[in-house]
Each structure stands twice: as structure tokens, then as C-alpha cells.
Amino acid sequence: MLASTPTAALRVRNLRKTFKDVVAVDGLELEVRTGECFGLLGPNGAGKTTTIEICEGLTEPDSGDVELLGMRWDSHAAELRERLGIQLQETQLADKVTVMETIRLFRSFFRHGPPPAEVIALVQLEEKVNSRVGGLSGGQKQRLALACALVGDPDFLFLDEPTTGLDPQARRQLWELIERFKLQGRTILLTTHYMDEAEQLCERVAIMDHGKVIAQGTPRELITSLGVEHMVEFSAGGAAKALEIQPLRRMEGVRDVRAENGTVQMQVTELHRAVPALLDELERQGVPLTELRTHSATLEDVFVTLTGRHLRDE
């Protein structure tokens, strides 16, 4: 077995996978440390699910190497299965069986693990214990799916888009659960296309686009790498002449300016200098302001800066 640093729970090298003529994963490199929650962030179609399913041993890569908990799929599949907790995107559990019956079924596949009732309590489905799966809400189904991933007391947890399609409250509830599992020292790899989810849950993230990792680090590091703290967005309209962009670029504390669909977005290092300067400049040009917003830079801004596209464009 290849020696690896004891802190790496998952190491992926030069991974490639092609479906017919679509390159889903294109030379991907990844390292997830033991005990951390690592986020794979990217738009739909970036190759996140393919990557995670290769790591889960459900999809064969065309080439590349996956080392998980110091083992490999071709030699230690049975042992790996016992130690992984997996939640897939879009799994629909059987509707006619109850929560308890579902958990008992999944529990029966693993040698070790907590009693079913304990797992159900963990995801707060005690009240639904005898309800059929078909009658659960979206958030409850997602928590049940999480419970199914936890029945084997896994060392490594894979969560593929755990909150997609949930309402904000159900999402936040699931986040709190995942936060608690992190306290137990489990390693988690999760994919998401919600940047707030990655910022909230993940110690480190990798931003994926077109099957490649285009940036990797802590959310803080990635945002800092932009070199700007704030984003200013405004709309101006109703003027006789169009707004001139060039003078904005020369203003103090402004890093970059881009205009699209009538709104202008400025990357700003010093908000307290840039905003008064912007107001002065608009007055000089005789262009009235119709809307003004500022926010701290996010992973979304990192993605936009790196690719020129928004995460949810596709």
C-alpha cells in the first residue's frame, strides 16, 4: 500500500472520466484531511457528482488514483463499504415502509453501528418513527437519507448536495445537524452549489469548473485572494446620456468594475472611500442613482472572478 501522510483521509490524483464525448472530470487533484469538512463547490455540470461517485466506488474512473482511508477500491472494497456513510443525490427511499423499517434495513447491512432508534433521534425524526417515508416532507426525507448514511457509524461521510431543493428553514436545520457531526471527528466531503452552504459548513473548499479544480483553500483564503473586501452594486438610469465606466475604474479604493444588464458591479477594497467617490462621480456625470447595494465578498464572487460566470448560470 502506498504510504500517505496520516492526515489525508482522501487523496485523489489526476482523475479523469469521460461519458461518451463529454469530459466530466478532467485531471482532478484533491486532498481531504482527516476530521475536516471539505466542500466541492461548483455550478451544475461541473463534475462534482461524478467526482464524488468515483470516490464512493460507484463509478469507475477512466484513469487516475483514489486513496480513501489509506485503502483503494480495487483491493479493499468490502472494508471501505463498512466505513463509509453515503448520501446520494436524488435517492428516493421506498415510500411504503416506515422510518424505523428503513433504518433497520440499512442497519442490517453493516457489522457495526448504533441501534436504529439512536440514529433516528440524532436526525430528530423520533416523532416520525412509524410514519411511512412517502408521507415525509422534503427536509424530513433528507434527514432520513442522512440517517441512512450514519447507521454504520462511518469514518468518512459523503454528502452529495444535501440541501438542494429544501426551503431555507429545512436547509438551516440540516446544516446544524452536519455541524454537530463534525464535532464527532468524522471526515466529510460534501458537494454543493450554494456558496453560503460551503462558507457555513466547510473548513476548506475546492471550486470546480469543467471537471477541474480551479481554486482550493479555506473560504477565507479564497475570498482574501480576491484582494477585495466588498462588492458595490448599483443601477443608474433615466439620464440623457449613458454612464461612463472608465472614470469609475480610476477612483480610489476600486479594484475592478464590470457592467452587465444595466447594473454595475465594483470590487472595492475601501468601502468608506469608494462610496462617496462614486456618488460624486455620478453627480458630475449627471446620472441619477436608482439602486445601491454593498456586500462583503463571498465565494460566489470568487467564482465569478475566476470564470466570468455565476454559480447558478447553468
Binding site: 435517492t91 423499517e101 428553514q169
Partner: protein, 369 residues
């Protein structure tokens, strides 16, 4: 978010140990994967009212309906018409004729529209004219009965005395023929539908993919289908045969263990065929198309409702090689003739061949995700 506070406190991770709760007591049989999978199959089936209807109620309704429609009745009373009171009186002497006296135009109309099978009218010189359709068996029978009644009324005496002894014994009626046919059809339908829909549905829901992401042994998954099938088989067969025996007095002349064995082999063969049909399909539509394609010809040619012998000799080898034909022939021979397994070796061979070919092929082709 107030309900979040209800989460139980989680112990910090122990060095290499478990994080949740104490190690459970020794695992019981109920914690076995195969038992749990089979129980789940069973629950899903029992909680599906439609499935229960098609498997248990439908065959019985079918048997009851057909048994009533084709019950052996005393020979039909034939409706005929006569245009004169004298003729009507002579004809009424025969119990098997229902005679109406009608005016000539009305009788004409009744004959043309098939309300009566024959019309008797006086001919020239005291003779009788019978008008009927000689391509209609009822018409020909009516002609013989009517003429016998008319001649006897006119004083004919039969030179030879004859009497009837009627045979209406269980074992030779249509319902006796039908019940083993329905049993075979039911074994085929529930095995193929039961396996097919459940497997394709699990694949479509990505549930199968989720299951193989656990340490679940794959053969346990497939085995659970066969096991639940065998449990259901007992109920299914018991229902239909019980109905046939108690309501229609269908005979069971063969040995019961032989019959049970036949049912099990039939069910396994069709289970393997169902597995093969479901091995690749990703949608319910694709699977049900395939299932109908496979089952429809057998419903027609394998002798469920009428003897397979009616098809041309040229086709007989093909028909005999079909699993449903083999199953039904064997079930009928067991129930109606009391045949032993040794006499059914060719049918058993056909069923075994389907099992041995379909099962490995299905495993090889099976799409797990």
C-alpha cells in the same frame, strides 16, 4: 430553530472507538440483511392495494366469471316459432323446445333477427315446412327436435327404445380445465410483474444505487425477491385452489407435495425470466412493454383458456417449449389425471431449462445503477 436544541449531546470521539451509543447486544436473526430485505419486499407488496387485487382477487373473479359463463347446464332449451295453433301444440310436446305461436310476418321477423332458431309453417297437402339456417348448429338441432315432435304427435312410434345416462362429473368440465390454467397464468404474472416492477422501480428511484453503496451483499438483494415470492406463492396458490375446490369442486387427483414442487419450480422459472426482463430497463414503461411482449403470446397459445392443441401441428414444438405451456400441462396432469412427477419429466425439463438459461444471463446483464 428551537427544535435543534433537542439533539442529544454527542460524546467526543474516542481514540479508535465508536462514537454512538454502546455496542448492541448480540445480533438477532431479525438484524440479518437477507431477512430485512425480504421483510421490506413483503411490506412493500402488502401495502400496495392494487398489487393485492391483481394477485389475489383478480384470478378468483376471473375463475368465478368464466366458471359461471361456461358452467355445464342441461342442454339449452331452443326457441322456435310456429304459425298455426296445431303445429304449436304438437311442437310443445318436446320439453327441449320453447315454442311461440306468431303471425306469419312476426315469425318471419323473429327468424331473421335470430330470436328463434327455427320457424315451422304448414306446407301444401298437410306437410310441414321448416325454415332455419343450416349453418347454425342450433338451427339444425331445432330441426331434428321439431321434426321428431311433429312426427310423434302424428302417431309415429320409434322401433328401438332408447334411454339416456348423463355424464356431468367433476374433472371433465370447463372449470376443471380452467383452474390449472389460471393457476399457471397467475404464477407467471405475479413472478414477472412482482420482480419486474419492483426492480425497475428501485433502479429508477436510484434506491438500488444507494443500496449497493452499502456493504449489502448483492446476492442477498436478488435472493430476497425469490424468498418473498415463495412466501407469497403459498398464499396465492392456496387462495385460487381453495376457491376452485370449495366452490366448483375441482378435483385434486395428484399428490399435493408434487403439486407444491411444480408451483415452486414454475415460480422460480418465471422469477428468473422476470429478473432477465428487468435486468436492464431503467423505466417502468420500458419494462412493462417488455413484460407484455413476453407474456401476451403465452396467454394466448399456452392453453390457459382453451387447449394449446388447437394450434397447427407445425407450431406445437414451439408452443410446448414455452414455460407457461409446460407449467399448465404439468399442473393439469397433476390435478386432473393424478400424474406423478415421472410422467411430467418433459415439462419439468422445459421449466428447468428456462431457469438455468435465464438466471445466469440476468445476473450477467443486471444493471445495478
Amino acid at each position: 430553530m428551537s427544535n435543534i436544541t433537542a439533539i442529544p449531546e454527542i460524546r467526543p470521539r474516542e481514540a479508535a472507538g465508536r462514537r454512538l451509543g454502546p455496542e448492541p447486544r448480540e445480533r438477532s436473526l431479525a438484524d440479518n440483511a437477507l431477512v430485512q430485505l425480504t421483510l421490506t419486499r413483503f411490506r412493500e407488496f402488502v401495502r400496495e392495494p392494487e398489487a393485492l387485487f391483481w394477485v389475489f382477487v383478480f384470478p378468483i373473479l376471473l375463475a368465478a366469471g368464466l366458471g359461471l359463463a361456461f358452467r355445464n347446464r342441461p342442454a339449452d332449451v331452443l326457441k322456435i316459432a310456429a304459425v298455426t295453433p296445431e303445429l304449436a301444440r304438437s311442437l310443445r310436446q318436446d320439453q327441449l323446445l320453447d315454442v311461440q305461436q306468431l303471425s306469419a310476418p312476426a315469425a318471419d321477423e323473429a327468424l331473421r333477427t335470430g330470436k328463434v332458431a327455427l320457424l315451422a309453417e304448414p306446407g301444401p297437402g298437410g306437410s310441414v315446412v321448416y325454415r332455419y339456417d343450416d349453418t347454425n348448429p342450433e338451427g339444425r338441432t331445432a330441426r331434428m327436435l321439431a321434426d321428431r315432435a311433429v312426427e310423434r304427435a302424428a302417431g309415429r312410434v320409434d322401433p328401438v327404445a332408447a334411454s339416456d345416462r348423463l355424464m356431468r362429473e367433476p374433472g371433465s368440465r370447463y372449470i376443471d380445465f380452467l383452474i390449472p390454467g389460471l393457476l399457471g397464468m397467475n404464477l407467471m404474472g405475479s413472478a414477472i410483474w412482482g420482480m419486474g416492477f419492483a426492480i425497475v422501480d428501485a433502479r429508477r428511484r436510484k434506491l438500488m444505487k444507494r443500496l449497493i453503496a452499502t456493504p449489502m451483499p448483492r446476492h442477498d438483494y436478488l435472493l430476497s425477491f425469490l424468498l418473498s415470492r415463495l412466501v407469497m406463492l403459498v398464499v396465492e396458490v392456496g387462495f385460487l385452489l381453495g376457491f376452485g375446490v370449495f366452490v366448483f369442486k375441482v378435483p385434486m387427483r395428484g399428490s399435493l407435495p408434487d403439486l407444491a414442487l411444480l408451483c415452486v419450480i414454475t415460480s422460480l422459472s418465471f422469477g428468473a425470466l422476470g429478473l432477465l426482463i428487468a435486468s436492464r430497463a431503467r423505466t417502468i414503461e420500458a419494462a412493462s412493454g417488455l413484460m407484455n411482449l413476453v407474456m401476451m403470446p403465452m396467454w394466448i397459445v399456452s392453453g390457459v383458456f382453451f387447449s394449446a392443441q388447437r394450434f397447427p401441428d407445425m407450431l406445437q414444438p414451439v408452443i410446448k417449449a414455452l414455460p407457461l405451456t409446460a407449467a399448465i400441462d404439468a399442473l393439469r396432469a397433476n390435478m386432473l389425471q393424478g400424474a406423478g412427477l415421472a410422467q411430467l419429466s418433459s415439462q419439468l425439463l422445459v421449466l428447468a431449462a428456462w431457469l438455468v438459461v435465464c438466471f445466469p444471463l440476468a445476473l450477467k446483464l443486471f444493471r445495478w445503477r
